[in-house]
């Protein structure tokens, strides 16, 4: 399963420490706002992809509508903030709670479905939620919501003069997500999720309550994606159904996970580190059509990876390691 054998011992810890130091030092070395923003994007999408990976990679439940959780997080914290003045950090927690609740609502009926049907159901749910959001005036409808600018402060979760705090917050969220995934891999939860992915009926025969563990995976996944949604809202200060709930976001999350390597710890990060800068490049060179060009590449990558190297890039490296 973990095609990349974990680099053990002192060498492993040293490598990790180096990577972490590099990440911490990055914005001081590459000082252009553009670099920082790109890194934030990579971290955000890497976290979303890793969260998706927990459900789809480890547990084998392919969700093609994961944007619903992103939108839930973004809208919850923003609406609470703008309507009742709730602090965005509290709003973040509220968004997480709501996303987890939504995941239970979705999971309860849908986890009885087999692979393909579950995937179709997630597409349908994604479309439904996006349609509802466009038509719900209370949360801004198609016009979206613009957050009121506040003075720079950690409490208000807004930073304008210097955007460094955004970088570190996102890095922190990503690290937390990776830590949680790492823990999952090494504990009973990880074994159970993998068994469910391999063969749910055989998993049940050895005492695993399959639906319950699928729910757990989805809840953890939804929680991180929702947190990412709140971050996005506080970072961009504007959201609408097209930016936080679109199918293209659900697709992107899948692509990063699949290309990088599902079911692994580093796959989604590798996928994001490679593909997000690539998509920025196409956006710059091709302008408006860049978005469609991205998707052409994503589509081809998805099919290509699925057919030729389902283990993704990380799997490729793992094979070379022997």
């Amino acid at each position: 399963m973990t095609a990349l054998r974990p680099v053990r011992g002192v060498r492993g810890i040293a490598l990790l420490a180096m990577v972490l130091l590099a990440a911490l030092a990055f914005p001081w070395v590459f000082r252009l706002p553009y670099h920082r923003d790109l890194a934030i994007k990579v971290f955000l999408y890497a976290m979303l992809a890793q969260a998706w990976n927990i459900l789809a990679g480890y547990c084998g439940q392919i969700s093609l509508g994961h944007a619903v959780f992103f939108g839930t997080g973004a809208y919850t914290s923003t609406v609470l903030q703008m309507t009742w003045g709730m602090n965005p950090w509290v709003g973040l927690l509220a968004g997480v709670v709501l996303a987890v609740a939504l995941s239970l609502l979705i999971g309860y009926p849908c986890f009885r479905l087999r692979g393909h049907y579950f995937a179709i159901a997630t597409i349908a749910i994604g479309e439904i939620v996006q349609t509802l959001a466009i038509n719900w005036d209370f949360i801004g409808g198609a016009r979206g919501l613009t957050l009121t600018i506040q003075k720079d402060s950690l409490l208000a979760f807004q930073f304008h003069t210097s955007k460094y705090p955004y970088y570190y917050i996102m890095l922190g969220l990503l690290t937390l997500c990776l830590l949680v995934s790492w823990r999952i891999e090494r504990t009973r939860l990880g074994y159970y999720l993998r068994a469910i992915r391999e063969d749910p009926e055989a998993a049940a025969s050895v005492g695993i309550p399959v639906a319950k563990y699928k729910q757990i995976a989805m809840a953890i996944s939804a929680a991180f994606v929702a947190a990412g949604g709140t971050f996005y809202a506080q970072y961009v200060l504007y959201l609408d159904p097209d930016s936080v709930l679109p199918l293209s976001l659900s697709i992107l999350v899948c692509v990063l996970g699949v290309v990088g390597g599902t079911g692994t710890l580093w796959g989604p990060l590798v996928g994001a580190a490679l593909l997000i800068p690539l998509s920025e490049f196409t956006r710059i060179t091709l302008g408006g059509t860049g978005r469609a060009a991205d998707l052409v590449i994503y589509g081809a990558l998805l099919t290509g990876v699925a057919v030729f190297q389902p283990a993704g890039l990380v799997g490729l490296i793992g094979r070379r390691q022997g």
């Binding site: 789809a56 084998g60 392919i62 093609l64 009926p109 849908c110 009885r112 479905l113 692979g115 393909h116 049907y117 995937a119 179709i120 159901a121 597409i123 349908a124 749910i125 479309e127 439904i128 349609t131 509802l132 466009i134 038509n135 199918l247 697709i251 899948c254 699949v258 599902t262 059509t289 469609a292 060009a293 991205d294 998707l295 052409v296 994503y298 589509g299 081809a300 990558l301 998805l302 099919t303 290509g304 990876v305 699925a306 057919v307 030729f308 389902p310």
Partner: protein
């Protein structure tokens, strides 16, 4: 939000729903055929339809060919596309992990949809001067003539497909392969050829439907997404793997779609259909006439 429209609007809606239902039935039959053969859901089915519609449109825009004349062209193009998709992609992921099966066709769908947008822009296209236009009165109710023709044609195509499957030797070999792959192989049926044929035929169905749809539907890159989801519901309701089931289900879905739009709001047409999908797969996973 809920408003009961006047009876004549309701009846007109139901009739047009039934007519569209036959189109849905043909689209769904293609999907069902493929699933029955190898238990793979073609996530790119909607995009195949989109390509068929674009084919008809470009035949019209470039060569002044009416969509009706493009029907055989679209059917042939899509048959080839289906066959090639099987040979190039599907063949390699049969029996593979679920992830590979889903993303192989899902990736293809995204690729085709985005390539269409990249090449032909997101603009909505329309066949301006189709041969068949305007309203016609059936039983005193006014419906569009293109819809009636499309509906009738799809029903006929559906009938031809059904006859092919049940009446010809190749068709029965196809059914046999769907029922029991190993037994079919033991009987000397070239299952590889059957799979490719299934993909070709299933896609050709969509080719025919697309050509007719082009005469009265807007053509744009994302049009496939809407029809695909309707097709999934139709197949689920009719029963995965059951071609006759698609007919019954198609009509039901067509009517529900219209009613959803009339009774709730046009934007919620598709919500109604999707909610129905969820209800069907959860309460009666095998559908009305399905095997699974």
């Amino acid at each position: 939000m809920f408003a009961i429209p006047p009876p004549d609007v309701l009846i007109q809606g139901i009739l047009s729903g039934i007519l569209m239902g036959f189109v849905y039935a043909l689209i769904a039959a293609g999907l069902s055929l493929i699933f029955g053969l190898m238990e793979i859901v073609n996530f790119a089915h909607g995009e195949f339809l989109m390509l068929s519609m674009y084919t008809a449109f470009w035949m019209y825009a470039l060569f002044a060919l009416d969509p009706l004349l493009s029907v055989p062209i679209c059917a042939a193009v899509l048959f080839a596309l289906g066959w090639l998709s099987y040979a190039g992609i599907i063949r390699r992921i049969l029996g593979g992990p679920m992830l590979a099966q889903i993303f192989a066709t899902f990736g293809l769908a995204i690729f085709l949809r985005s390539a269409a947008q990249f090449l032909w822009t997101p603009d909505f296209r329309q066949v301006g001067e189709a041969w068949i236009q305007g309203p016609v009165r059936i039983l005193g109710i006014s419906v569009g003539l293109p819809q009636v023709v499309a509906s009738a044609a799809c029903l006929i195509a559906f009938g031809i497909l059904y006859w092919f499957i049940t009446g010809t030797e190749t068709g029965m070999a196809l059914e046999a392969t769907a029922q029991d792959r190993q037994a079919a192989a033991l009987m000397g049926i070239n299952t590889e050829r059957m799979f490719a044929l299934g993909w070709g035929l299933g896609s050709a169905c969509v080719g025919v439907a697309g050509a007719f749809l082009a005469s009265f539907f807007y053509v744009f890159p994302h049009v496939g997404g809407l029809f695909a989801l309707i097709a999934y519901v139709t197949v689920a309701l009719g029963g995965f793997g059951s071609v006759p089931g698609s007919l019954v289900a198609g009509v039901i879905i067509g009517v529900i779609e219209v009613l959803g739009g009339l009774l709730i709001a046009p934007a919620f047409k598709y919500v109604a259909v999707f909610v129905l999908y969820l209800i069907v797969v959860l309460l009666r996973p095998q559908g009305l006439l399905g095997k699974f």
